[in-house]
């Protein structure tokens, strides 16, 4: 263990967990949920976490050399509840993602912060792991009202994406997803914030996805059945619905606003959301439009060009490693908290 790791561990007084090789052991402090969130750690105590951490079998698709994980399991002597396990693994996933992508915590880092229950733990990880003097030089860019509140509650420096000077990029962005396929294509937009989320993600040098196991999917549309969220100009909603049906979408619908609002959900941008279900999207190859089966890139290209469509909830194409000057939508890595308390990492 080098000095850096030592430093990290010194700060990690109460809890030393060896998580993975990439960034040294990760400090997991007692759970301190910043946000009220259903199921987010209500029963997760520090003790439970200590007793439940573990080593895991690395998923076979994680072929990158830097993801060699510990081979021996340290099993708990007590049996945690499934909810405990998931929350622990989400928290662990968040800490790992921060360790992997923020160490050695350079000053003046610009960080995008998305929403979702796992992102709450990302903020916890940042406030826990980054030395305060460094943290005070960092700036955090939210993807919407929820993450704005998260940033402010944590006492971090808030800034808006429209203040990012032309030509500059965020260093990294952490955000969740509604579904992730093996090639790191995403569906996002369950919270109707997809437009801002895509702007923040594509304004970042790299986008890191954090989520739980339910978001892992062999093909988009398999786990997330509600459809691809599409942000549309209200006066074009009917026209877009017709176009989507012609393209093979199975029952696209304008998302309703109830119980808080009669009629359609209105986004923060004054648009409506159409949820457009498609058959599971092909990760590779080409589309077979006769069968209503689309390859992701082809579908996304077609959707974004429909007049009336403002933005789509497919995050596709390049990732930050491939697109030198920003504009990438896909994450470079995705961290999933698993049912068994472990973390799975998908790398581009």
């Amino acid at each position: 263990m080098n000095k850096h790791h030592h430093l990290l561990l010194r700060g990690a007084s109460s809890l030393t967990v060896s998580l993975c090789k990439r960034s040294g052991p990760t400090h997991l402090p007692p759970a301190r949920p910043l946000f009220p969130s259903s199921g987010a750690g209500g029963t997760t105590t520090a003790a439970a976490i200590v007793s439940n951490f573990f080593s895991r079998h690395h998923h076979s698709t994680l072929t990158s050399p830097h993801h060699h994980l510990p081979k021996t399991a340290r099993m708990s002597t007590t049996t945690p509840s499934p909810v405990d396990l998931i929350e622990q693994s989400k928290r662990l996933a968040a800490f790992q993602s921060v360790t992997a992508h923020l160490v050695p915590f350079p000053s003046r880092t610009r960080i995008g912060i998305g929403s979702g229950s796992t992102v709450i733990y990302v903020v916890e990880a940042i406030t826990t792991l980054v030395p305060p003097a460094t943290l005070s030089t960092m700036t955090f860019y939210p993807t919407g009202a929820q993450s704005e509140q998260l940033i402010e509650s944590a006492g971090l420096n808030l800034q808006y994406i429209n203040k990012l000077p032309p030509g500059t990029l965020l260093d990294v962005c952490f955000d969740g997803a509604d579904e992730v396929d093996p090639n790191l294509n995403l569906i996002k937009g369950g919270g109707a914030c997809l437009w801002q989320e895509k702007i923040v993600a594509s304004s970042s040098k790299k986008f890191v996805c954090v989520a739980d196991f339910r978001k892992m999917s062999p093909a988009l549309g398999t786990m997330w059945k509600k459809g691809i969220p599409i942000e549309v100009l209200p006066l074009a909603a009917n026209r877009v619905l017709g176009e989507l049906e012609r393209m093979g979408s199975l029952g696209p619908k304008v998302r309703p606003g109830l119980p808080g609002k009669a009629g359609a959900v209105v986004t923060d941008n004054g648009m409506w959301i159409v949820d457009a279900p498609f058959r599971p999207l092909r990760v590779e190859g080409t589309s077979d439009k006769e069968k209503g089966e689309w390859q992701i890139d082809e579908l996304a290209d077609a959707l974004i060009k429909i007049p009336g469509v403002a933005e789509i909830g497919l995050f596709y194409g390049k990732n930050g490693n491939q697109a030198g000057e920003g504009g990438a939508q896909k994450p470079v890595e995705a961290y999933f908290g698993m049912e068994d308390g472990s973390v799975k990492v998908l790398s581009a």
Copy 2:
């Protein structure tokens, strides 16, 4: 039951209705819900209606010292479910309100149509009772997306309130309410459409409220506990919350958009909704601000002047009988479907 009433009930099959001009028993045709609506007539058949309705002595003038209600219910020989009874009474209330305020169905009438489960029956009443040739000359003005759909589904002539020429008024407007006090002050805005609703109501010569018994209240704030809906400019939300607390509101909050949208509900006008609970509002007298007890007019006057407030969900002040040239917010009458299958009418 006299012959006339018998005829009415027997003759419910067709459309030859003598409605006793203003206030007599109302013809109720078989239920034909226009809209899918939870509990709205799912189990209500024509037979059930025939067996459950009753004739009542309608108070001789609906305008006289109000609230003389029928003293004897003639109950059905079978026992309808409570849900049936309520739906029947709401439907009856709708038919009575249309009979009272649209007969003799003048041509070219301009009618405002609000939202709410009872308004669905108002549209049914209009399409049932108005002769088709006359109906085709009438124009219907919605208060929002939901009532727009209702108007279109019924095949009625749709027009928007912004097309009403300056200086003209709608002849009548039918809309629901979230709470109604004995002086016909209202709370509206549970569906986040209060701004449009107030514009339509105050653009009408008279506003007729239709609702069910749960909306009747001795004082606003008694039955509707969520607070007075207030439409605010998002950047002023914090400021308005502070002002409301200073005025005695008990825990005002920005209405959340979940599950369809993370963060706040955004209205069709791009605003947020603050729900501001107050102690039950005094119908008469003056406010005792020390105790946080407000008289309605005084509270409304104070709320509407808070910078950042676009519109408030209190409908107060004059009604259409009092305000000669429009601008009135209060209904001239309110019709309530009661739990026992009867209809109660509140007149100004």
Copy 3:
């Protein structure tokens, strides 16, 4: 062919146009401007038109009885002013476009109506040429507030594009442009209504462009120097500006709202407009991005995918003849009022 036709053809020489091919000479009734419009007929009186134009043999395709036209030409004995000539030619262009694309005036036609000074004459042509009984069955869909007012002033049936049922199309759409290249690619958006205009155009079976000679251009960016109008989400404006500069745009700017509004123009959709000048766009071939020279389709494809861009003012790709089921952005024909009083027609 009389002298007039000779004139027309002479003006159209470079563009392989035969006006007569389709619909023959067009009847021009006395000028009756519907709208106050600077330069739109300020000096054009009925007498001037009578004296400057001519009567012509009505083409056989105009079979309606009320189109019996005078048989003798009354030639001008005075010299019209240049302004007169342009207005006359714009009016003639409008009448020709309507004759070519609406005859034989089928009932229940759905027609999109855009904005611009030539479109005013399109509406005049429609109200003049279409038999009243047929006209009353037609429905007109505006692209914005200006054309909405135009439709209403003319007493035509107004309908909104969001009411077009999914899967149906407008029969034809008439709209102007800020610049037209020889392949009928367009720049639109000078009035900040490009998003609605593209939705209406691409919802039409065919889009017919009407304009004056100043809009004809060998390559987009030659005549219209202000830049391609791009509708952007305000919070992404900086990011889009940076991206545009990286793509070679020469000084893209957010359009200011003065004198009516401090800060940026806000569109009817709540967006901002970025005007992005590029070197003249290549009609064919491929882009040379090193030189900042773009081929239209490639540029448009790149622009529309920038996160934060809602819609772009390039109308490109297919036209209605090529795109069977709608979605085309390019006109099938463009009619230009020329400086010399003639009309030039560009056909796809």
Copy 4:
């Protein structure tokens, strides 16, 4: 009293103003315009200012070392142009207002910054007069995009009014006006930002108005002839126009967006602006509605209650000295740069 002071007082004759009372003569450093602004100092050089103004004894409360000022007046030997004089007087007005209301520059002051050509000098005064260490603790709240840019260009700490915690107030707000009457009632909204401006002003302990002599008026509506700017929900525009005419407004109109936008100006809040001219408003007494003559408070009360009106451009009622807990709209003082180079001050 030297000649300059005499001039100042002479100009202030009717308004019982003593500039010296509060803060004494103000130091005016060389002109350093922060913003490009037509007429704002184009011909105003440091030399011109030195030659035209004077050095004065710095008031003792300005104790910071960098405020050592020249002790001898250097009187002008040349004649300044009228434009010079006005710009100088506006700048002087700004410096005086800052001296009067910010000295002794407490730390952590929260300051609202409006827009207008005189406010530019307010920002210059603040950056010049406030010691840097103190300045870095101050926070500045803009009233719109223009003042946001002004704050950022000056390198000041920007914050948004929606971040002001409930229950707290800005310490002071500096903003311009379109017209000011002797009782410090204002018309604002020429730049279509009146809603935000009123929110910021009424969120301040005191509002200080800075402007030039053209905004001084015996009665609102005398100098500013375009009408009272009223921010309205677009779908209510017609209805509001009708109501305004009924109230005696002389030709109220929706403000057009040209040249940048066809149709109406859309505000940053998605509203339209109606400009409603009234006969000059009575500062005191009551309205004579028959004659269409209104007293300000009565008119404002009537306007704000019209359904469809979001906010009005009348700033009226209490000022910050009268309203203990915020909510005041009127300034406590107004500073005017006069034609003759002097400053006039109106105090509540």
